[in-house]
């Protein structure tokens, strides 16, 4: 027994000293640490940015640490709430829908980048998402500018061309769905029954959101919300629209040709292109709008931005890095668009060759230039702190919406009550 404990003590000692040595080496190097969630997307773009910055700053090193997205948020939240800043990264990626939650819940935790970097270089709606009292906190990364990806062959069979899809309302889409279903037997698009995210781009296209500028619920008496709920209900009830359950089911529907189109963020491009058998049979049109005064055929779904932590050991270096590459290297934006399909928010990048190129997968359409145009038209809104909670409240009403017997005003009232319970 005493022999064993001696051995134990020795191995424990080795373990402890090797761990502390690791800690020492990482503290000595001039390393900027980044937390993000997709090694092939945002992680890869950061590696590319680091390689470019290194060319002029040989001492610079960047470590990308990947966590699953929701896990990363939970991790960041736990650590900020505990007040322990050890081991936090210099730069962290946060999804736009969660931006206000972090900025308002942990004042002082994030560096106001607007004081260091000229924010007029970026798409204004992206800057607005991460601003508090007029101060911008993020370096805008990928835009979630929304497009309507459609199968040219199936729609042509039903008698529709690209022009028929441009500048139309959701009511017209529902009529179109009936025709497509009758003539081809294919449903026009898929709508999720597991998560109510279809209403988000509808609302933002109408310049509205679940919450007003002060963050209070903006549901009852908001025509954009009523119209979104109404449209979502019609989509759920239409037999010409597929109902999907889960992400795999949703993407599988359009990849397999079960449905003829998908309305989604520009980041869906890579997934659409993953089935190369359908090359040349896809096109992208602007998103449908709600039939309301002021609604436009441009919106946003998802997207994320980079934030620098105030406690970051390499704060100044991190800001300089972000400003130099992410805030000025137009060639970099061409590279990440081609390699990762990352659609950045730097306005000047739109003039570059990759953004102007046409894509044979989409029948030679200048898809990136189109997305750029739509991006400049997206109305800015305040996502507030509780967007996910509002989604959940809508989700709870899916049975009523599918049933269709309850009047929309009543459903809006129900959702409002539930949001108030969750938020207050």
């Amino acid at each position: 027994m005493p022999k064993l404990s001696k051995g134990w003590r020795r191995s424990l000692g080795v373990a402890v000293s090797s761990v502390s040595m690791l800690a020492v080496t990482s503290a000595l190097a001039e390393t900027v640490t980044v937390w993000c969630w997709d090694p092939n997307f945002n992680g890869a773009t950061m590696e590319e940015a680091a390689a470019r910055f290194q060319a002029a700053n040989p001492d610079f090193d960047l470590e990308v640490v990947i966590f699953e997205r929701e896990g990363l948020e939970q991790k960041l939240q736990t650590q900020l709430a505990s007040g322990v800043m050890d081991g936090l990264p210099d730069i962290v990626l946060i999804e736009d829908y969660s931006a206000q939650k972090f900025l308002l819940s942990y004042p002082g935790a994030f560096e106001p980048l607007g004081n260091h970097i000229d924010m007029s270089k970026f798409a204004q709606y992206k800057v607005d998402i991460a601003s508090v009292d007029g101060t911008a906190y993020s370096l805008p990364f990928d835009s979630g500018v929304t497009g309507w990806f459609y199968r040219t062959d199936i729609l042509a069979e039903a008698g529709y061309s690209h022009e028929d899809l441009v500048d139309i309302t959701w009511d017209e889409v529902l009529e179109m769905a009936e025709t497509v279903y009758e003539t081809t037997g294919v449903q026009l698009m898929s709508v999720g029954v597991d998560s109510a995210t279809a209403t988000r781009p509808m609302m933002q296209g109408a310049g509205s959101w679940y919450f007003d500028a002060d963050g209070n619920p903006n549901l009852v008496g908001n025509p954009a919300f009523a119209a979104s709920v109404e449209t979502y209900g019609e989509l759920l009830r239409s037999e010409a629209i597929d109902k999907s359950n889960g992400w795999n089911d949703y993407t599988g529907a359009f990849l397999s040709g079960e449905v003829a189109s998908v309305v989604s963020g520009v980041w869906m491009t890579a997934t659409v292109k993953s089935n190369q058998d359908l090359a040349g049979n896809w096109g992208v049109a602007p998103v449908p709008r709600l039939d309301l005064e002021g609604a436009v055929n441009a919106s946003n779904t998802g997207g994320s931005s980079w934030y620098v932590l105030s406690s970051a050991p390499q704060k100044d270096l991190a800001i300089e890095f972000l400003d130099t590459i992410w805030g000025g290297d137009i060639d970099f934006y061409q590279k990440i668009l081609v390699d990762q399909g990352a659609f950045g928010s730097l306005l000047a990048a739109r003039e570059g060759p990759a953004f102007q190129a046409s894509d044979d997968f989409f029948g030679g359409q200048p898809v990136w230039a189109n997305f750029s145009t739509w991006m400049s038209e997206i109305p800015g809104v305040n996502y507030g702190i509780f967007s996910y909670e509002a989604d959940n409240a809508i989700q709870a009403s899916i049975p009523d919406l599918t049933d269709g017997s309850k009047p929309t005003e009543q459903i809006v009232e129900d959702i409002n009550n539930q949001v108030n319970q969750l938020v207050m």
Binding site: N40, F41, E70, G71, W267, A270
Partner: protein, 290 residues
């Protein structure tokens, strides 16, 4: 009790004759149908995981349920995207050391709770069981602050320590100890063994299969642990298998083929340990001491 019931059933069967036979057949057919359904529900995810690993991401998305030819490509992509050696070593250290430490601490506690009598024993035990109902999310922040004060953030110890005194396991060992004959302990005492010697040389060998079952459960718990390692581990060189498998899923364009390979990879160690200890595991759950 059991004997008299079975005699009663047998005489009832004699009296009703063929009728009862027919009923029994229907009953067993029904039971088999139900078991077949349950087996299908348990086995289908495994089947899907293995079939999926041989297909491309697009094929999985479109619901292809037959074997394809992509297995080697998926494995190559998995090895390319993931530092398999690093994460396996990390997970094995955490699960291995965690299992040994958990078994040591919880079996000692379970033994003590059952063997030694004291005024507050039941109250303390009840309080501990009550603590089982506190969700881990509520403990996360204070635990994180604690680990930071100890200077243990981003270390194996930080992952292992909070789960070492696993209350469920203490409960399990206490229940198992109820079957441990006190005569054995008395005899050992008369032979002059000290308490720790009784534990090490009498209790441990007798309860071997209880330990085996506990080892599988504890290993699985440590190997699959996700939330706490996520919170407390910070750098790439400390990542565990479950953390990395989760990141593959959160990609914008997930490669389902690679995800399936990673799922098989993450399941393997638990499966191997289960098959190695299977006989003891079943014995352990039925009760170590006959």
């Amino acid at each position: 009790m059991t004997d008299s019931t079975s005699t009663l059933a047998a005489s009832a069967a004699r009296r009703t004759g063929g009728n009862m036979n027919w009923l029994r057949h229907v009953k067993s057919a029904f039971a088999y149908a139900l078991l077949a359904l349950a087996a299908f529900v348990s086995i289908f995810p495994f089947f899907w995981m293995i079939v999926g690993a041989t297909n491309t991401s697009a094929q999985i998305s479109t619901g292809k349920a037959s074997f394809g030819d992509q297995l080697l490509i998926n494995i190559a992509n998995f090895l390319d995207q993931v530092d398999v050696v690093r994460i396996t070593i990390n997970s094995l250290i955490i699960a291995g050391a965690g299992t040994v430490a958990t078994l040591l601490v919880t079996s000692l506690a379970g033994y003590a709770f059952e063997i030694f009598r004291s005024k507050f024993r039941e109250r303390i035990f009840a309080a501990m069981l009550l603590m089982l109902s506190i969700p881990f999310a509520a403990l996360m922040i204070p635990l994180f602050v604690m680990m930071s004060r100890f200077g243990l953030i981003n270390t194996y110890q930080a992952v292992i320590l909070p789960t070492v005194a696993w209350i469920f396991m203490i409960f399990y060992f206490r229940q198992a100890t109820k079957a441990f004959p006190t005569e054995l302990r008395d005899a050992a005492k008369i032979d002059g063994l000290k308490e720790w010697q009784i534990f090490a040389y009498v209790y441990f060998p007798v309860m071997r299969s209880t330990y085996a079952a506990a080892a599988i459960i504890a290993f699985m718990q440590h190997w699959n642990n996700y939330l706490w390692p996520l919170i407390v581990l910070q750098t790439n060189d400390m990542m565990t298998v479950t953390l990395v498998v989760a990141t593959l899923n959160s990609a914008y364009t997930p490669d389902f083929g690679v995800i399936m390979v990673s799922a098989i990879f993450a399941t393997l160690p638990t499966l191997i340990i289960f098959f190695v200890l299977q006989r003891l595991f079943v014995q352990g759950l039925l009760g170590s001491v006959k």
